[in-house]
């Protein structure tokens, strides 16, 4: 069973938070990428069961990363959950572009965990 999860995020503090949260799910193997480019590469290498994607990265937007992931056959099937603190219109756009769902930041940790549990049971 694939319990790998890739978190593409540049904010240290958010990374620490997700790391702390995932200590409660020892089965899940967490990979971190801090740029869009690294994220796409890690997705191809690690083949995670779920990708968490921050919408604002230093080298790319969430939409661009989504596009990269969707166009590579190695990653096209991996569900991507977008973490975003942007407005509704932008989230709609991301969902149109293939994001499985979105979690608004700041997120409620219960809601966050339930999403993770659904994709990586």
């Amino acid at each position: 069973v694939n319990h790998a999860m890739l978190y593409i995020e540049d904010n240290e503090s958010n990374i620490s938070l997700v790391e702390a949260l995932l200590k409660r799910r020892p089965k899940i193997e967490l990979h971190i990428a801090m740029t869009g480019r690294d994220g796409v590469r890690a997705a191809i290498d690690k083949q995670p069961g779920l990708i968490l994607l921050d919408n604002r990265l230093p080298d790319a937007t969430g939409g661009e990363v989504l596009h990269e992931l969707a166009s590579a056959t190695a990653t096209a099937a991996i569900p991507v959950v977008v973490l975003s603190s942007d407005s509704g219109a932008m989230i709609e756009e991301l969902l149109e572009n293939g994001a499985a769902e979105s979690i608004a930041k700041p997120f409620d940790i219960h809601q966050f965990m339930s999403v993770i549990d659904r994709y990586l049971p």
Partner: protein, 702 residues
């Protein structure tokens, strides 16, 4: 010097010179006078000519009369001269004095007649002839007197002969002279008659000509004048209309009369108007640009603020779940409270920015007023109780509905109630009432028993961050709750106003458009409606179970009541997309009614998730929406929806759909036990950080 017309007028529009120029520049009064004067002058000229001709005729008549008088007087003189001669001759022939009688009578008359003739001969040229005739008359009379005295002296007849011959010669001369005196005037009379008749003909002709000319001049003058004036007034009226509609003017002829000045004024008005509208457009563009800049700023700022807040709230929640001393737990609680407050503030700011930029998407549909009031009151009850404040609901109308976005309406009411809690005395009350207005509107009034708001501050409270007296009091609040509530009310085609009696309290009135009454089902019935009538009498019943995923309880109530009347149908409901998906996976209904506007997920997301999940892929999904575009409907049907129904749901249509629906289970011959159904309605704002979120039950999940 009058100002020239606007220079913007096309060149060539004013190529008018000479008489026409002079005429155009005359004032209307002068033009009118001229138009009236033309026929008047014709009339006066004709009258004068008439008078002159009449005088002429008069003169000719006098001349003619005199000529006749002269002829008559002359013939009288001749007649009596002949009478006298005849008498004298008879006397000479007969010596009978009786023959002298006519002679004497003629002599007696001749004196007067010769005077008359003298008086009548005043016509030029006849004085000399009259004198000659008179002298001849005298000569005739003296000859006759000599013959008569010779006869008296008994002179022999033979010796009278020379005297008689001389008398005859004088008589013949007189005859000629009188004839010339009488015939000349007769000819004159004849010629005068011709002259008079000619004059009369001329006068008649003149009269007719004057009539025709005067009439023609009057008609033509008035016609030309009025049509000219009318044409120019019409042109100005057309330009005035164009001015009203903001169109460019038709080029016209300028003139210095009243109409021309009217045209100039219109021109100036147009210039002014276009100048103003240019200014307005510029101002509007600038304002729009500023608003866009502000919204972009707000949007990016809120993003920047949310990022650290994610860590603050996340780690604090983690802390909250660990074992803490009471003191630390209190500290963590305060951090969480402050963090959530900050988040609420940011969210409200974004809402306001979205409303202003028109990005806020609303799902306007009939919402039961009473149920929203009940829900929000319930939601706010804990906070009110904390302040010892009682919430009184006064909404008697059970079926009264408004056209609104249910979540946003709840948000407005939560803000109003929260405000009423904050600005209230301890042990005060909050009254929420609803009222149907005659004008197709519904008002919801939230009133408190607080210190009230002074009249000059009543509008300030709707300005963001204008928290009245907040500096002095310890009242918590974002400062944009009321402005947001008003903006939301406006966005839902309603309005929010405030009134207050200082010292007694304030009242906030929310007015929304009315929707047709919704069937209201009391809560206990609702629960019963959901209970499957699964009894021992129907053990192998192939009932249809329906899952209705809908966040608007009013819609749920309608469908629930409707299904209650249909045997073998059970209903379960969920108020959010996520809960609906989970419920569907757990309870596997036969059919899912899916609202497209859900608080958490979009309808098409829910549909695709249901269709990709093996446990739920086979369930038939009927999509319900008030405003889906044909493209959306097509896409939904393509991605596996069984049918699409418009909202408000046509119950007959729904019934037909359910009647023709054959449950999958029945097909599989695998009747399952009826699911114990429960109508669950999540309240509005039951999102992650709302005050009503049930943290305890979530904690158990860990």
């Amino acid at each position: 010097v009058r100002p020239k017309r606007a220079s913007s007028e096309p060149a060539g529009a004013d190529q008018v010179h000479g008489v026409r120029r002079w005429w155009l520049d005359l004032s209307l009064r002068a033009k009118g006078l001229i138009v009236v004067a033309v026929p008047l002058i014709v009339l006066i000229a004709v009258t004068l000519t008439n008078v002159m001709l009449a005088q002429n005729e008069n003169h000719e008549r006098t001349v003619s009369t005199r000529a006749r008088t002269l002829a008559a007087a002359a013939s009288l003189v001749l007649t009596d001269a002949l009478n006298a001669e005849t008498g004298v001759r008879g006397y000479a022939a007969t010596r009978d004095p009786a023959f002298l009688t006519p002679y004497h009578m003629a002599l007696a008359r001749l004196g007067g007649e010769r005077r008359s003739l003298r008086e009548a001969a005043v016509i030029d040229g006849y004085g000399r002839q009259q004198r000659a005739a008179d002298a001849t008359t005298g000569k005739v009379l003296s000859e006759l007197a000599q013959i008569r005295s010779a006869v008296g002296r008994d002179v022999p007849t033979a010796s009278l002969l020379p005297g008689l011959l001389k008398g005859k010669a004088a008589m013949d001369l007189l005859r000629r002279r009188i004839a010339s005196l009488a015939n000349g005037p007769a000819a004159l009379v004849l010629s005068q008659r011709k002259k008079i008749s000619a004059l009369q003909t001329r006068i008649e002709l003149l009269n007719v000509a004057a009539l025709v000319l005067g009439l023609l001049a009057a008609v033509a003058g008035v016609g030309l004048f009025t049509s000219g004036v009318a044409r120019r007034v019409t042109a100005n009226a057309e330009n005035a209309r164009r001015l009203g509609e903001g169109q460019p003017f038709e080029p016209g002829t300028n003139a210095d009369d009243e109409i021309g000045r009217l045209g100039e004024s219109l021109d100036r008005a147009q210039g002014l108007l276009s100048h103003r509208s240019t200014e307005l457009i510029t101002a509007r563009d600038e304002a729009l640009k500023a608003t866009r800049a502000k919204n972009a700023f707000l949007s990016s700022t809120s993003h920047e603020l949310r990022t650290p807040l994610n860590s603050i709230l996340g780690f604090t929640q983690l802390l909250e779940m660990s074992e803490l001393s009471d003191e630390d737990a209190d500290s963590v609680g305060r951090i969480l409270g402050a963090g959530r407050h900050l988040l609420a503030l940011i969210n409200e700011l974004i809402d306001i920015a979205r409303i202003e930029s028109g990005d806020l998407s609303l799902s306007l549909e009939p919402v039961l007023v009473r149920s929203v009031i009940e829900e929000t009151s319930e939601l706010m009850a804990p906070i009110a109780t904390e302040h010892s404040i009682r919430i009184i609901q006064q909404c008697a109308h059970p079926a009264l509905a408004v056209k609104a976005d249910r979540q946003r309406l709840s948000q407005v009411l939560v803000n109003l109630i929260s405000n009423a809690v904050k600005y209230n005395h301890r042990d005060g009350t909050i009254t929420i009432s609803c009222q149907e207005e005659g004008t197709g509107q519904v008002t919801i009034v939230v009133s408190d028993t607080g210190p009230g708001i002074s009249p000059e501050n009543l509008e300030r409270i709707f300005v963001p961050f204008e928290r009245l007296g907040a500096e002095q009091t310890a009242v918590e609040g974002t400062g944009i709750g009321l402005p947001l509530a008003r903006a939301l009310a406006d966005a839902m085609h309603g309005r929010l106003t405030a009134s207050s009696v200082p010292g007694q309290g304030s009242a906030f009135t929310l007015t929304l458009p009315r929707a047709p009454d919704l069937v209201h089902v009391p809560a206990p019935d609702l629960v019963t409606a959901g209970v499957a009538p699964a009894g021992p009498h129907h053990p192998a019943r192939a009932g249809v179970s329906v899952l209705y995923i809908e966040d608007n309880p009013a819609n749920v109530e309608v469908v629930s009541r409707f299904l209650h009347s249909k045997p073998n149908t059970t209903l379960m409901t969920e108020a959010s997309g996520r809960a609906g998906i989970e419920r569907a996976a757990r309870d596997v209904p036969d059919i899912i009614l899916l609202d497209l506007h859900l608080p958490d997920l979009r309808g098409d997301q829910v549909l695709s998730e249901l269709k990709t999940e093996p446990a739920t892929a086979a369930i038939s999904v009927v999509v319900l929406s008030a405003d889906a575009s044909p493209g959306v409907i097509h896409r939904l049907l393509a991605s596996g929806a069984l049918a699409y129904l418009t909202k408000p749901v046509e119950l007959a249509e729904l019934g037909e759909l359910l009647d023709t629906f054959v449950p999958l289970r029945a097909q599989n011959q695998q009747p399952q036990p009826a699911v114990p159904n429960r109508v669950s309605m999540s309240g509005p704002g039951a999102g992650p950080f709302s005050p009503g979120a049930d943290q305890e039950s979530a904690k158990e999940a860990w």
